[in-house]
Symmetry: C2
Subunit: 434 residues, 2 copies
């Protein structure tokens, strides 16, 4: 039984096979939605009392009052001191690089003046307060704290509020240390739909936020979808994916381990290698078999490779890129000679890793760019999480008397064409009365 399937892009049924391989749809679970709707209603109506009750029930805790789910600034700093110095230094180094990269994303307000004195522009302002959801328990990743909080702080958000569940009163020191390092302003140890509701509507203890970002389980995702519109949310994330394009000249062990680093995430993760070199594909297949056996998470990775992985033979790097554009992968490695020359051909990808030395895992932690990326083909229309996700724009329009006259005539004609007489008169009053 092969560790991973091989596909030939020139086979007549390749398109159908590729479609089958990519098929993944988040299942909307009606019972989850109903449970979530009830939790949202309760928190909206009863605030902290409801949050405490659900948290005690779901996370097996003994909270008495809202103060019991607040983490003070000194507790955050204590966690930062408590973690191993090597881990703290690594988190600080990663935070520094993430901050430096995201500084490049800041957008500035702009204006221009027309000949008649009319001024047009756009004013860019940060959101005032945002919420970051951080999963608890096993899937509690300090790197996610950095990746979600730092762009918000770089954008100038005044208050970054983090929620993280503490099932059985357990919470990761690394997560709290990351919050301290990222500059998170307030932390609440609550999770699930009740935490999303608290952030969306506000309670006595938890302030209402303008946007909620960060990954979570199906209850969290469903709650975010339900409060969308009331607050902004980020994209609902699907399983992680990598697509590697290799010319056959990179060490097969390196490429195999890159594929495995995706596959170890979860059984639904997807790892695909595309290469014009059949011998290389075979070498990577052998390397996968060998390296898989040595991994702590080999059972998860094996299912992922077998169910959702593929090695795809193509006739050229250009053909590989055409397949990649169709897939719109979350992570794309261009492990080829002169990778930069292919950059203009890439249409859809969350993050592009160029060259033989750029392991995708570097991007997960510390290269600088965000690791929150569009999954499941949504790179066709969405972008990495960034500073721009925490800024908003207001149009600026100042009409000089002369400009108002010119524009008033045009607006009047168009407004009457749409049957909106008050619009026409409002535009024309300034013309007449001038």
């Amino acid at each position: 039984m092969a560790v991973i399937r091989q596909l030939d892009s020139l086979a007549p049924d390749f398109d159908a096979q590729l479609e089958l391989l990519l098929a993944w749809e988040s299942v909307a679970d009606h019972r989850v939605e109903e449970t979530v709707a009830e939790i949202l209603r309760e928190v909206r109506a009863h605030g902290d009392v409801a949050v405490i009750s659900y948290t005690n029930q779901f996370d097996r805790r003994q909270l008495q009052a809202a103060g019991d789910f607040m983490v003070s600034a000194s507790e955050l700093q204590a966690a930062r001191e408590r973690v191993a110095p090597e881990a703290r230094r690594a988190l600080e180094a990663a935070a520094e690089r993430v901050r430096a990269y995201h500084d490049h994303q800041k957008q500035e307000s702009w204006q221009y003046r027309e000949a008649d004195g009319t001024v047009l522009g756009q004013q860019i302002t940060p959101m005032e307060r945002v919420g970051i959801y951080v999963p608890g328990g096993k899937a509690s990743y300090p790197s996610s704290v950095l990746m979600n909080a730092i762009p918000a702080k770089v954008a100038g958000v005044e208050e970054v509020v983090m929620v993280v569940p503490a099932p059985d009163n357990q919470i990761s020191d690394l997560v709290l240390a990351a919050a301290a390092i990222a500059g998170v302003d307030r932390v609440f140890t609550i999770g699930g739909a009740q935490a999303v509701a608290a952030l969306a509507y506000g309670t006595e203890a938890v302030p209402r936020v303008d946007k909620i970002v960060g990954p979570g389980n199906i209850f969290v995702a469903s709650a975010k979808r339900a409060v969308f519109g009331q607050v902004a949310i980020d994209m609902i994330a699907g399983p992680s994916e990598i697509l590697v394009i290799c010319d056959g000249e990179t060490d097969p062990d390196w490429i195999a381990m890159d594929l495995l680093s995706q596959a170890e995430h979860d059984e639904q993760a997807q790892s695909i290698l595309v290469s014009p070199d059949q011998e290389f594909l075979d070498a990577v297949e052998r390397a996968l078999e060998k390296l898989l056996a040595e991994l702590p998470r080999r059972e998860i990775a094996a299912v992922s490779l077998k169910e959702r992985g593929a090695l795809v033979a193509v006739d050229s790097i250009e053909s590989a890129i055409a397949i990649s554009n169709r897939i719109a992968p979350e992570h794309l490695e261009l492990s080829v000679a002169n990778p930069e020359k292919y950059l203009p051909l890439i249409r859809n990808a969350g993050a592009i890793f160029l060259g033989r030395h750029t392991a995708e895992a570097l991007g997960d932690y510390c290269a600088g760019p965000n690791h929150v990326l569009p999954t499941s083909g949504t790179a066709r229309f969405s972008s990495p999480l960034g500073v721009y996700d925490f800024q908003k724009r207001s149009s600026i329009i100042y009409c000089s008397p002369e400009g108002a006259k010119t524009l008033g005539r045009v607006a009047g004609i168009l407004a009457r064409g749409e049957g909106l007489e008050a619009h026409a008169r409002s535009a024309e009053y300034r013309v007449r009365n001038k």
Copy 2:
């Protein structure tokens, strides 16, 4: 019976009254959602056959084949020739200004190189194909065609696909002319949830798009919400609103007509004036009464003013701005002396109209900025429709061998902290084997 209520911001119950005034929530209608879900399923399964069947049923048409709901390029040009020259020139002038303004919103890819040769950046690309929903019948607005299509074309979208229903085979020449002027590439005379489904999934005749924008009725809004994730969508729009801040020195007739131009949209539209000058508020109230009587849409406007309008007395312009930031209005008029000095105080607003001559209606048609703006307080976290809504970003990461070594060590430590051994090995292979 007063035409509009007056509120005093210093009254003890003002906060509660303001909250009541602003209360508006889009009602999710379960039966609409079920109908929409069935339409989506049918179109996904049966393509054009289902689109034709629903269109014949809902829009009272006699379509036989997909060709019957396609509008050719020559038909578009014919409509452009057919409309009154004055209207055509007004549309062309508006399109020209909208294009010029949106040209300023184009974002460029960027990169930077670090000391060790590592290159980081972001590549910005347009979406390939987007869909624009244009309502038919009475609410068929040519200005909306310009405002939705032009930013997409400026962004570099290859194919802009417009859908517009033609109930009883009727379709507005102005809408088709606007499509021709805006550079829309393909037009289909279909609407409702079936049109949204066709754009989201694709049929034989209608190509699948990456994003769907544009307003519609509750079926359209519900369908957009349901396909969100499959494709991108714009914000679901609530009723239109205006907040005018005036120092009392602008002609009360001008301000009254600005309030009426919002109120005539629909009964749920909201018009609020805030001023420190009580005599001015009274003068505007009298002007509203007088001018309302002369309006063709006076019945709609009267309900809007009575149910959702307000004249609010404050103690200063700064207090007025504090109220505005809390409301986060779609349209904000600063009808005051030296309006630009208040600009830095504005936190939340879709579009800001500065100065006594800048009627909001100019922004609806031809000032240049987009008239698709965040409503119902969502300016706290969202922005006017713009070129950036049709572009997406890909992170760029190229590590030099030296950079990969430095980053590999940091990533290795953090990956092991998260229990992801394959990530650590993938990052470290490049360090070891160098």
